[in-house]
Amino acid sequence: MSEFRKLTLLTLAMLASFLVGMFGVAHADPLKVGFVYVGPIGDHGWSYEHNQGRLSVEKEFGDKVKTTYVESVPEGADAQRVINQLAAKGHDLIFTTSFGYMNPTIQVAKKHPKVHFEHATGYKRSKNVATYSGRFYEGRHVAGLIAGKMTKTNIIGYVASFPIPEVIRGINAVAIAARSVNPDVKVKVVWVSSWFDPGKESTAANTLIDQGADIIMQHTDSPAPVQTAQKRGVWALGQASNMSSFGPKAHLTAIIDNWSPYYIARTKAVMDGTWKSGDTWGGFKSGMVEMAPYNSAIPADVVNLAETARKGIISGSVHAFTGPIKDQSGKIVIADGKVADDGMLAGMNFYVEGVEGKIPQ
C-alpha cells in the first residue's frame, strides 16, 4: 500500500512539474525582434520588402515573437539612438537595414553584448553583429539579358542612387549581360543622389528616355521610374519588389529582394540558441533574390534565355562576372575563363565596357 502511495505521489509530482513546465512555456515571454528602416514602409521598394520579411516572421512564429519597427530613421546621429532604444526595450534580435547604420549598430552592440544584431549591406562584424546582403547582381544579370533582347534603340537608361560598389556592380552586371546578347548596347546612367525621391527619379527617367533609352532600369526605391516608362511607352525593370501594378504594360520583370527566409532562419536561430555572427550573401539559390513574373509581351525565346540563365546561376554554371571582361579603357580586368571573386565584387569601383560616363567621385 505504501509503495502504491509513493508511486501515486511520484506520478502526481511528475505530472505537476510537467504541467508547470507547459504552463511556463505557454507563458514564456515572446522573442522581441526589432527592425530599423531607412525609408517609409510604403516606399514599395527597399524598406517595403524588409517589412514584408518582418511580417513573415510574425506569420511563421505567431505569438512566440513580437516584432517592432521604426521607419524613416535618418542615417546620421539619430540611428544610434533608435537602435539603442530598441536594445534597451528588451529586443533580443535587431535588424538594421541600411548601410549607414553600420557604425551605430557596432557602437550599440558593444553596450548590449547579449542582444543579437544583424546589419544589412555592411562589412563590419563583431561577436554579436552579423551582416547580410543579397547578390542582387544575379538578378541584374537576368534583367540585363532581357533588356539586351528587348531594346530597339540599343540604349538602356539606368536611374542610380549613390556610386557605392553595390550599385556599380548592378550597372556592370546589366551591361555585361545585355552586351552578351546584343553587342551594340550602351548603358546611360543618371545619378539622383537619393534612395527614395519619386520626383527626381521620374525626372531622371524622362531625361534618359529623351536621350533615346527605351529600357528604364533603376537602383532607387520608388516606383516612379516604372510609372514614367509606362507614360512614355518604353520598357521598365522594377527594383526590390514587384512594381508591375505601377506600370503593367512597361514592367518587363523586377528583381525582388526576398528577406523572409533569412529573417525566419535567424529568428529561429536566436530561439534555439544557435545564433552566430557571420556574413551571409544570398542570391537566387537561397531565395534571397527572386524575379517577378515576366511580362507577357516578352517573346518565349527571351523568357527561355532568362530562365536558363537563372537556373544556371542556381546550379553554379553561370556567373554574372565571367571573363574576359574589359573596363571602359579596354583593359582586361577579369581574365578569360575566370570569374570575379567576392572581394572584387564587394569593392567594385570601375565601369565595364559599354557603360557611358564616369563614376562620380
Binding site: G34, P40, G76, F162, P163, I164, S193
Partner: protein
C-alpha cells in the same frame, strides 16, 4: 454675413508670450482626439510621446543631444530674423561647418593633441560663416534677396559634401563606401554624463544662448537689430549702418550653424557621413519662431521640438504608431502657434466689409 479680421489696437504683451503655451496645449488636445479616432488610448499615446522618452537619464541625455543643434542654429537665426534678415540656408552652413571641422579631424587623423578639438570647432564656425558670407556679400553689393541665395546655397553645400565623401574624404579602408574613417579620440567632444552621448556641446550651446541674450538686450548692436526690424525707416534716420548689420547677423547665424555641424560630426556621429543633418537647419526656423526669437524661448522650444522626435521613436516602438504622427505633431504645433499669433494681433469682426476711414 461676413467675417473679417481687423487689427487689434494693441496686442496684449502677456498673450504674445503665452501663445506658444496655448499652441502646445491645443496640440495636445487635438492629438488626443486624433489618437482616439485612431483607436489608440490617448493617454497611453501621450505618455509614450512626451513622458516615456525622458523617463530615464539616458533618455534625457538623448533629448539634449537632439536639441543641441536645433537650439544652436535657432539662436543664430533668431538674431537675423529680428532684423528682417532671412537666412533660410542654415542647413547648408551646418554642412560646411561639418566639412571644415571634419576635414581638420581627418587631416590630422593620427595626431593625438589637445589642440585638435578646439581647432575643429573654430574651423566649423569659419565654415558656416564662409557659406553665410556669400549671401551677405550678394545682398550688400547687389541687393540680392538673401532668402533665395541662402536657400540655393544649401543644395550646393549638400552636393559638395556628397562629392567629398564619395572622393577625397572617403575611408581608404572602407571598400569605397561613402563614409570617412572614424575620428581619433582626441577629435571627439568630451561626454558630460558617463555612458550617454551627451557632449560638452550642449553646455557650450547654453553659454552661447546667454551671450546671444546679452548681445540682444545689453549691447547697442542688439538695439540696432531690433530697431531695424521694427522700423527700417527710423533706423536709417538714426544713421544705423544697415550693411554692417547684414554682415553681423548673417555671419552670426552662419557661424552658429557651422558650429552645430562641427558638434554633430565630433559628437554623436564621430565621422563624416553623406547625411549629417536630417534637416536641422530647416526645423530650427520653426524652433526660432516657437521660441519667440528670444534666447530663453529658443532653448525651451528646441527641447520641445527634440521631444517630438524622440516621442516619435518611442511611439513606434511601444505603441506601433506610424512615423507620420511625428510630422502631424510638428505641423499642428506650428499651425496653432501661427493661429494664436493671428488672433492676438487681430480680432474677428462680423459684418459687412467697410473701407477703413480712420
Amino acid at each position: 454675413m461676413l467675417v473679417s479680421l481687423e487689427l487689434r489696437p494693441k496686442a496684449s504683451k502677456a498673450m504674445v508670450y503665452q501663445s506658444p503655451l496655448i499652441a502646445v496645449f491645443m496640440t495636445l488636445i487635438t492629438s488626443m482626439v486624433m489618437f482616439w479616432l485612431m483607436d489608440t488610448d490617448p493617454f497611453l499615446a501621450i505618455n509614450a510621446y512626451f513622458i516615456e522618452p525622458v523617463s530615464t537619464l539616458d533618455g534625457v541625455a538623448e533629448l539634449l543631444v537632439k536639441a543641441t543643434p536645433l537650439i544652436l542654429i535657432a539662436l543664430g537665426l533668431s538674431v537675423g530674423f529680428q532684423a528682417n534678415i532671412w537666412n533660410i540656408g542654415a542647413e547648408g552652413q551646418l554642412t560646411l561647418g561639418a566639412i571644415f571641422s571634419g576635414g581638420i579631424a581627418l587631416a590630422y587623423f593620427d595626431v593625438d593633441t589637445p589642440f585638435l578639438l578646439p581647432a575643429m570647432l573654430v574651423f566649423g564656425v569659419l565654415g558656416g560663416m564662409f557659406w553665410a558670407a556669400i549671401p551677405a556679400i550678394l545682398k550688400v553689393r547687389y541687393n540680392t534677396n538673401e532668402i533665395l541665395t541662402s536657400l540655393m546655397l544649401t543644395y550646393v553645400g549638400l552636393l559638395l559634401l556628397s562629392y567629398l565623401i564619395h572622393g577625397p574624404l572617403r575611408d581608404p579602408d572602407g571598400f569605397n563606401f561613402p563614409e570617412s574613417r572614424l575620428f581619433h579620440d582626441s577629435a571627439l567632444l568630451p561626454i558630460i554624463i558617463e555612458g550617454s552621448r551627451l557632449h560638452i556641446g550642449f553646455l557650450l550651446t547654453l553659454f552661447i544662448a546667454v551671450l546671444t541674450w546679452m548681445l540682444l538686450i545689453k549691447h547697442i548692436i542688439g538695439f540696432q537689430i531690433r530697431v531695424i526690424g521694427m522700423a527700417p525707416a527710423a533706423a536709417r534716420f538714426a544713421g544705423f549702418k544697415q550693411k554692417k548689420l547684414i554682415w553681423i547677423t548673417l555671419l552670426f547665424s552662419g557661424g552658429a550653424a557651422g558650429l552645430a555641424g562641427a558638434f554633430e560630426v565630433s559628437g554623436p556621429i564621430g565621422q563624416i557621413v553623406p547625411v549629417i543633418s536630417p534637416g536641422y537647419g530647416f526645423t530650427a526656423i520653426i524652433v526660432a519662431f516657437l521660441g519667440r526669437l528670444h534666447p530663453l524661448g529658443v532653448v525651451l522650444a528646441g527641447i520641445l521640438m527634440a521631444l517630438t522626435y524622440l516621442g516619435g521613436d518611442a511611439a513606434q516602438i511601444t505603441m506601433n504608431l506610424p512615423n507620420a504622427v511625428t510630422g502631424v505633431f510638428q505641423g499642428m504645433l506650428l499651425f496653432f502657434l501661427l493661429a494664436s499669433d493671428v488672433l492676438i494681433r487681430y480680432r474677428f469682426k462680423i459684418g459687412s466689409i467697410k473701407k477703413e476711414t480712420t
